[in-house]
Symmetry: C2
Subunit: 245 residues, 2 copies
Amino acid sequence: MAQKQYSVRLFVSSDLGKDLGVVLDKAQSHYVATVMRQQKDDKVALFNGRDGEWIGVLQEVHKNHCLVHLVEQRRPQTPEPDIYMLFAPVKKAQTNMIVQKATELGAAKIMPVQTVRTHGERIRNDKLNLQALEAAEQCQRLNVPLVEEIQKLETTLLALEPDRILIFCNENLTGEHPLEVLNGLKGASKWAVLTGPEGGFTDEECAFIESRENTHTISLGPRLLRAETAAIASLTLLQATCGDW
Amino acid sequence: MAQKQYSVRLFVSSDLGKDLGVVLDKAQSHYVATVMRQQKDDKVALFNGRDGEWIGVLQEVHKNHCLVHLVEQRRPQTPEPDIYMLFAPVKKAQTNMIVQKATELGAAKIMPVQTVRTHGERIRNDKLNLQALEAAEQCQRLNVPLVEEIQKLETTLLALEPDRILIFCNENLTGEHPLEVLNGLKGASKWAVLTGPEGGFTDEECAFIESRENTHTISLGPRLLRAETAAIASLTLLQATCGDW
């Protein structure tokens, strides 16, 4: 069903509930008062990842400080599919894009991994977490995925729960058809998707990945997708088959 | 199967065939000689959208002028799915991204449409066609999709062949599950996908789109996707169900 979109929708850490007051921080107050030019008595939407989404009325609007009086819960908190997005960071703009799109597409956790062919500009986790937060505010999600610190591919894979299904997107076109693989996994409850760097994984990395239990290699078609396109495409397919689409 | 990637892969307009010579234009010669530092006797890959992909040997390398001697056809020309990507342009960077990704994902034709909520920066078709060409060179496609001039949504829809299936991605979440819809369309041979602007289509536009024969409305999940994410996600789903994945 179509729902009214509120022009201001913010993630806060405070508890949310009927008649509670929430004080917005300085950056949010600047956004509300100066950028969005909201005024006393305007309505805003707030979420905190725990209490669903709430509609509140602005009681005080100052550029450093806003006070919201919560009036009603608009949506209850609902669980989302438990999907981790593992990806090899590429250039800064594309890495930002992957974080933004993975958030929009409902990844529960976003995990950059260091591979042999990852030539990393440094990963700024503070910036990437802000990117995820802003994307969650925009896309109507009820929570914000965590962007983890970058780790070596091997370290990340060894730390995954053994029963978490890993979908390995191999650009060498050796994988099976994605829908055939994913349709066979509908009963599972925990997934991770792994996409590679420009230039792909090394043969040794591929062998290591595929030696993991509960790992399935898929192809993403006959054209060579860029790293960020592969991330978006694989999450799309997973959400459409096993997720909440 | 994994195939060797040539570091230089170029689209040319010349005919391609055994022992033919191809002269690269000034921009391509600059790229080959100066950017990629190729030398006499290095191999390059060429395609023209008609004769498949050919491997050639550089016989002369100058920064304004290169001559390639074609030695063997690497891949024959093969038909691609007949999918048009219709989208409402958004900001310049996102419009560029949609053209690039639609090319990677194998759209046969890319058609910007003017909608009520399209606040157009001017569309530069020359730049967008260059974007498509570069994406095709990178993604190993054997042809380059045409980016058409922007037209009004109504004009574009009325000009589509009546039997071309139109997949309408409606962000109001009123559509059916994408895989249920697309799985029912596997027998078709001509498709178009339509995604909207920031802010979505108006109610009147939705009614007009849905009144068209052979139009199917799909949902892209419970989160509100940005315009460029919706374009990538919808093409992914169409290629994976009805296309060449």
